[in-house]
């Protein structure tokens, strides 16, 4: 699998960042090498093997739907953002 300029742009788009032309070039090389390495899994026969996504086979853990005391107050959390107005986080225009 060859990673070209368009693939890098597509992946950058999915990742929500932009890449410069110079970055694109070095990413083509780096990502191609990484893909080459991870593609060695092609050698492994996994027919009839179930996937493992987490190791303790945990099921959903249920609790009562109750209001718990929170460590952080609303104003503490809002204060973490760069700009606020009327108790809300302010961002540039959406459209």
């Amino acid at each position: 699998m060859e990673i070209n300029c368009e693939t890098v742009e597509h992946l950058a788009d999915l990742s929500n960042f932009s890449v410069s032309d110079a970055e694109n070039k070095s990413l083509q090389k780096d990502l191609s090498e990484i893909l080459k390495y991870i593609s060695q899994l092609d050698e492994v026969d996994v027919s009839d093997i179930e996937p493992t996504y987490q190791v303790f086979e945990m099921e959903n853990v249920w609790r009562e739907d109750e209001i718990l005391k929170q460590e952080a107050l609303r104003e503490d959390l809002l204060a973490l953002s760069k700009e606020q107005r009327d108790n809300q986080i302010k961002v540039p225009k959406v459209l």
């Binding site: 932009s18 990502l31 991870i38 493992t52 303790f56 959390l77």
Partner: protein
């Protein structure tokens, strides 16, 4: 470890630690030094002692906190530009447990940004230098924590281990580094990297200190539903190991299962992995492993050779599964709610893209992009699903191994600390550092990096002891058998 009491004051312990931290500034260990906060806490503890009040098991013990644990003391940055300016309003459960026992955080330590790396060179703050050779890397991602303990600045340090980030820097600096069983210590308030493999653990100078910290930090947390009940403190002896394993000694009647209660420490069987005994591993590290095996044999332990061919594929599976989880976990960094926000954006989408573009390090970007690649339609089955199936093979390989032995002794990494800059432009070469550490995270089993002497250049050599899930306490106890001069 030295704990404050009526003879040694907490202020003295903390002042000494802070003094050393400032003396070793050129190693670039800390992202924040807690001079005032630490001394204030130390005075409070001394007052309690003076009043004859009860103090905790870690009263006045100075420690270093990897900068991906949230607490209101200092900014929590994960050594990433995108978190600059973020001071957490909440405290990680692990931090709270340590501080409830009186431990005092004297500083936050440097890491590869978001713990993505094996050298601490991918930090926004620049690399931490190796404790034994300043021209070499500290290892990573918990490089700052490892060096803080190795240089004797603090009694212990916290770390996180997603694929080797505690064990490899521990081995590069000649200290103990423990990655517990998955789910043993709460991750609430720890910056997430890969949720199915992330573990909280510690760096210490002795196995006994590790045991003390584990006994305090482990256990169920309603704020992290992947945590396990406290099994750690109920493991007081070796009797819980290998309950149905064939008998080892005596009559040779190997069919009769050993009665669990009858198992003595000296009955333990130690496995070594054939696949790691070849030229891909530094010859002096292999020699150190063989010497430890001889030491164990002289003490009556049986050494068994293990075939674990699936481990060869652990690294490839890891570098599919972990980037996939990183992609998801790092999608939250958008510049809106906390941390760094790019200044030059005319609309919201531009703000996301510019913030992430300027805020992530190159390795963060590579991992996010690989994650998006292996999860995207058309590639999901060939990469992510395949890797998840290979993970099953690795889990089974460990289960099978632990039916033949109690612990496994292996190298931590294929080489001792390498030169600064040597691998930073070659991502695959850097990934290969994790060759022998990642399989534990995929299988959820615990591993303890132990110091095993130095090589001919004076660099520390590390080995790791691997045990079955939930064998953490026994594993740490067993490390005493392998101590230098033991």
């Amino acid at each position: 470890m030295k704990i404050a009491n009526s003879k040694v004051s907490a202020v003295r312990l903390v002042e000494d630690a802070l003094k050393k931290a400032h003396e070793f500034e050129d190693y670039n260990i800390f992202t924040f030094l807690n001079d005032e906060g630490a001394l204030k806490k130390a005075r409070e503890i001394d007052e309690k002692i003076a009043r004859g009040e009860k103090v905790g098991k870690l009263a006045g013990v100075p420690y270093a906190l990897k900068d991906n644990f949230l607490s209101p003391e200092g900014e929590t940055t994960a050594s990433a530009h995108i978190l600059q300016g973020f001071t957490s309003p909440i405290t990680a459960t692990a931090v709270k447990k340590l501080e409830d026992e009186g431990a005092i955080m004297i500083g936050r330590t440097n890491l590869d940004a978001f713990a993505h790396g094996s050298s601490t060179e991918n930090s926004y703050f620049g690399p931490t230098l190796n404790s034994h050779d300043k021209a070499r890397v500290a290892g990573g991602s918990s490089g700052g924590s490892a060096v803080a303990v190795a240089l004797d600045i603090v009694e212990f340090a916290t770390g996180t281990d997603t694929g080797g980030s505690i064990r490899q820097p521990a081995s590069f600096n000649g200290v103990y580094g423990f990655k517990p069983t998955y789910g043993c210590i709460s991750r609430y308030g720890v910056v997430a990297m890969a949720s199915s493999t992330d573990c909280v653990g510690f760096f210490t100078k002795t196995p006994d200190d590790m045991d003390l910290l584990m006994s305090i930090a482990n256990g169920k947390d309603s704020k992290d539903l992947t945590t396990l009940d406290d099994y750690y403190n109920s493991q007081s002896d070796f009797s819980r190991l290998a309950p149905s394993r064939p008998s080892l000694r005596g009559s040779g009647a190997h069919s009769a299962p050993v009665v669990a209660d009858g198992l003595e420490k000296s009955d333990l069987r130690i496995g070594i992995i054939k696949e790691f005994d070849n030229d891909s591993v530094d010859s002096e590290i292999r020699k150190a492993l063989k010497e430890k095996c001889k030491l164990l044999e002289s003490k009556g332990y049986e050494i068994v050779e293990l075939d674990m061919p699936a481990l060869k594929y652990a690294l490839a599976a890891y570098y599919i599964i972990v980037p996939a989880e990183i992609t998801s976990n790092l999608s939250r960094y958008d510049g809106v709610r906390y941390g760094f926000r790019s200044e030059n954006s005319s609309d919201l989408n531009g703000l996301y893209a510019n913030t992430r573009d300027e805020g992530f390090m190159p390795e963060n970007k590579r991992r996010i992009m690989i994650g998006n690649f292996v999860l995207s339609s058309g590639f999901y089955d060939a990469y992510f699903l395949k890797a998840a199936k290979v993970r099953t093979l690795i889990v089974k390989e460990y289960e099978n191994a632990f039916s033949k032995c109690d612990f496994i002794l292996t190298p931590v990494s294929p080489n001792p600390a390498f030169k600064l800059g040597e691998k930073v432009d070659d991502p695959v070469a850097m990934y290969l550092e994790d060759l022998m550490s990642v399989s534990l995270n995929l299988a959820g089993v615990p591993g303890l990096a132990i110091p095993a002497g130095k090589n001919s250049d004076g660099l520390p050599i590390g080995l790791q002891i691997v045990g079955p899930r939930r064998s953490d306490k026994n594993l740490i106890e067993f490390a005493n058998e392998l101590k230098e001069g033991a």
